[in-house]
Symmetry: C2
Subunit: 346 residues, 2 copies
């Protein structure tokens, strides 16, 4: 109880992962592919970008992670099916692509028809929100590999005529940062959440003080799908950069531009599950803001003159809760002045 938990202490050391991953990428290097179909951007951004003839495409893969262990504990699987869609299509939106197709990859210890139908229901809910089609998948029954189902997927997006990939390179000092709230922790940081649950023994079947829905249900709330919000901005060319706030927390912003500072002056206070995480983990805010979305799951960078139009477009697309959370300043990295936090880069 005395030692604050860190993410490394919870079994995930992101530096070691980064080093190991670098080794994989170096070893997997193959000659550049050129011609009618070719990659435009390698690993590193929210999605890979490709060119085929006149068309550009975005491709990304992600999983629901250890959120499945809480889903199993609570016997509640529909939400993580929806997460599987959300974690992927939001990464497409972050490069300006419109979701087109999803493939799911499920690993299961046994073929449980009821479980698969429940997960499928969640996938369907996600697909309808993202206006995306399921075009294939793989369901592996591998009792020797997993005890709990694992959910991952891959999504392909395209750029409608007149729209280009959005990498954030047009971002300028003076642009405004608009944040769209998350629905909760989404599908990141669950290894730490589960350690905190073990330690705090907070009951999952009752709401947290001041909240309405049971705590377990609040933790399992599916990843908010930002497709409509992003499409509203993209169709009107109102965004200079878009970021999906996932595993690296607000550090994800620095992927958009290497030589400006993303100054987060008006980050909302921690509420609900985030208030519980702050209180229970006793981790420094710097650790929390690079592990969780901390209440904002998607950020758009817009020109100051476009702000009213952007907020209007977002409200029309159902994101009435979008709000200004900061601005782009000279410098580099990400800063939260009120908390004294500064991240140098990604």
């Amino acid at each position: 109880m005395a030692v604050p938990l860190t993410y490394a202490g919870a079994g995930v050391d992101s530096k070691a992962v980064g080093r190991a991953l670098g080794g994989l990428l170096r070893a997997a290097r193959a000659p550049a592919v050129r011609g009618y179909g070719r990659p435009l951007l390698g690993p590193g951004h929210f999605s890979g970008l490709l060119q085929v003839g006149e068309e550009r495409l975005a491709l990304t893969t992600d999983n629901v992670g250890t959120k499945v262990l809480l889903a199993e504990q609570l016997g509640s699987w529909e939400g993580v099916g929806e997460d599987l869609v959300g974690v992927n299509v939001n990464d497409l939106s972050a490069v300006g692509a419109r979701p087109l197709a999803l493939l799911d990859y499920l690993m299961l210890p046994r073929p449980d028809p009821k479980l698969l139908a429940t997960i499928g229901k969640g996938i369907g809910r996600g697909l309808r929100q993202a206006k995306c089609a399921l075009v294939g998948g793989e369901t592996a029954i591998v009792p020797d590999l997993v005890r709990t189902p694992d959910l991952s997927g891959t999504a392909l997006g395209y750029f409608p005529p007149g729209r280009s990939p959005l990498t954030g390179r047009s971002i300028r000092v003076g642009d405004v940062l608009v944040g769209i709230p998350s629905s909760g922790v989404h599908a990141n940081g669950f290894t730490l959440v589960r350690r905190l649950l073990e330690r705090a023994r907070t009951p999952l079947d009752r709401p947290l003080p001041g909240e309405r829905i049971p705590f377990g249900k609040a933790l399992l709330r599916p990843t908010r799908i930002y497709t409509s919000a992003a499409e509203a901005l993209l169709d009107r060319h109102l965004a200079q950069g878009l970021a999906h706030i996932t595993g690296g927390g607000v550090r994800n912003l620095s992927r958009l531009h290497p030589s400006v500072e993303f100054t987060l002056e008006s980050w909302p206070g921690a509420r609900g599950v985030f208030e519980w995480i702050v209180a229970t983990s006793r981790l420094p805010p710097k650790e929390l803001f690079q592990t969780f979305n901390m209440g904002i799951g998607f950020v758009a960078t817009v020109r100051r003159k476009d702000l009213p139009a952007a907020l209007g477009a977002l409200a029309e697309a159902g994101a009435r809760d979008a709000r200004v959370i900061g601005r782009v300043s000279p410098g580099r990295g990400v800063r939260l002045p009120s908390l004294g936090i500064r991240y140098e880069g990604y």
Copy 2:
């Protein structure tokens, strides 16, 4: 020792999987996606097919399966990295697409840099053969979910100008079936292989009688990558249908056309690992031919008049071992007359 092992007995009941999967697909059904980007073909063929503007694309996802458990037992990981590429790009070739981009999804119990570099080396070998680029991926360190690394991936392919998706609908009675040998069991049927190994206790560090390389190494031989062979046929419009022989064995052929019979009159005899599987499992051939590739990993359907050109193109592309294995006859399903096997459909 008395009861022959079946695939269901080995922990995988394909009928139960089929039922469970049907429930997922029904539940995940979402409104049809129409417009500039749209799916052309849903789940069921070797790859999903999509249309974006004037371009058509193929998308598929697959995993290495429980072959990883043998890789772990033998401490040999490079080959399964190559498998990860092969299992995916071969499914692209089977719909006539040229591989363009791969995303990997690795689940690991810990971030092991040496292991990842070894897997990466195998991925690189596969990518070079398939002339494909790695454009992204996800490496999940999830000690609470897996004890052994799991390797899966997704591949995107395109259709060069002048080439159309190949579903097999142009196949006609009288066409010739050309088979290209596999390099071994590839990445299918390993749940059964491992049960057989437990039962037979065949030493893995010595060659089987009459073979040269140690048995364990023969079992781990990476999936043969058929990209060059398929491209050679596709560029010259010599194939009416292509099939990747994977989990469903020769039954995969019936995906190509619902109302012809694929008559396999000249299937090669079981050698090496397949000879061992036949002898050890004592399973009826009908079971084996719907579980393993049984020596042929890729099949092309060609017009009889195109046969010399097809064999020439394959030889030029390095597949000098391609051979006629049968023909297309009136009827339906798949038949191996010499073994008295008949499969009604997929």
